[in-house]
Assembly symmetry: C2
DNA sequence: GGATGTATGTTGACGGTGTCAAGATATAGC
DNA sequence: GCTATATCTTGACACCGTCAACATACATCC
């Protein structure tokens, strides 16, 4: 028959990942189904299971991509030696909120319940996310050493709380609670003021 | 037959609400199904649909209960006239984190995607949540008037960012990302320091 | 080059979900 | 007592994740 050459798809694993990201960007995590994904790639329902143990592993792989993408942006900030912590943190906060709101569905997947609570995060995913946070903690610590931030709080706590603030704002925005995107700039400035006022 | 008297259940609507809260506390939102709930109450699958238009309306009703419960705690803080904003905010932050972590699944439902993004929040739910936030904003504004907090930032922004911080930390904890419950106290103190250092 | 093993694809099936439509039954109002 | 209405039931449909069994293509070794 004519179609015998495409019995094997070739690079199904990669196509699953990229197509899944398209679906997620369109309809969110809840809009992604293994069957639907297989349909879009014109493949039988269970074909994806030869490349991912289950749906959770697919989601984790996608989240990993997100962390890798974020780490690039993050590194560009960490490699700077900031003269003013206010300026640095303001642009960092902006970058964070931009990433979270522009790839909203991807961000929600990276930090969302489906993976972290309902499912189980892959070891590699845990590693990637931990690395991202740890490098941020290190950066804060380094800034403290340079006298840019006061040392009366542990760098871990500072990192946790400041990241927590950004995360909380992003969740409010992404989930459509209270906040509108237009106030993002203002909120960045506000959090900068708060976090840098005490140094 | 013997069972003819219990054809009508009596107060099914209320029993659905309370039983649903039990399930959610046990297994989280994702563990709650309309059919399973009906089973637990020994009622046919579609009986609940005579009391709630769909699952979303059930979830909203439960979330409403949560906001009413939280508003009680909130009011007890808002009715105080704080002498020291540091002390007030620290105990407030503690109360917030306690509420969010002790009724973790309920909190996640109140602020989670299933209602706010995937589903559509009921008008009454939107009102309740908006009221809770607005009363917090008013309180901040009042504190500014009394000179307890500096006025160089709008009360709205201050409220948004501080609530956002608490929310972000709660999400990290509840979703099982990075943070352990033991550091909760410390994080409270840290955020207090940050938010009160600039007044 | 033909046999064999492995990776990858397929169909069929099971139990789960939300929810609509149509019918049954109990209560409430006239 | 009749009728309207609220409530509950069964049946059905279209999804979903995933397991088991089978089919096909490719890779390897003799």
């Amino acid at each position: 028959m004519a179609g015998k050459s495409n019995y094997h798809h070739g690079d199904l694993r990669q196509e699953l990942l990229t197509e899944a990201q398209v679906v997620i960007a369109e309809k969110g995590v809840e809009g992604l189904s293994m069957r639907g994904l297989a349909d879009r790639l014109e493949v039988s329902r269970t074909a994806p299971y030869h490349h991912f143990k289950d749906k959770n592993e697919l989601l984790c792989a996608i989240a990993e991509d997100g962390f890798r993408r974020w780490q690039v942006t993050l590194n560009s900030f960490l490699n700077q030696t900031p003269e003013s912590i206010e300026v640095w943190f303001e642009s960092f906060a902006r970058a964070y909120l931009d990433f979270a709101t522009e790839s909203a569905e991807h961000y929600d997947l990276m930090f969302g319940r489906p993976i972290w609570k309902q499912g189980k995060p892959t070891e590699s995913l845990k590693q990637l996310s931990y690395d991202a946070f740890q490098s941020y903690v290190d950066f804060v610590h380094q800034c403290q050493h340079q006298g840019l931030i006061s040392e009366d709080q542990s760098s871990l706590r500072l990192a946790q709380v400041s990241w927590g603030t950004l995360h909380g704002l992003c969740r409010f925005i992404n989930d459509g609670i209270y906040l509108d995107r237009d106030s993002v700039k203002d909120m960045c400035k506000s959090s900068v003021k708060l976090f840098t006022a005490c140094e």
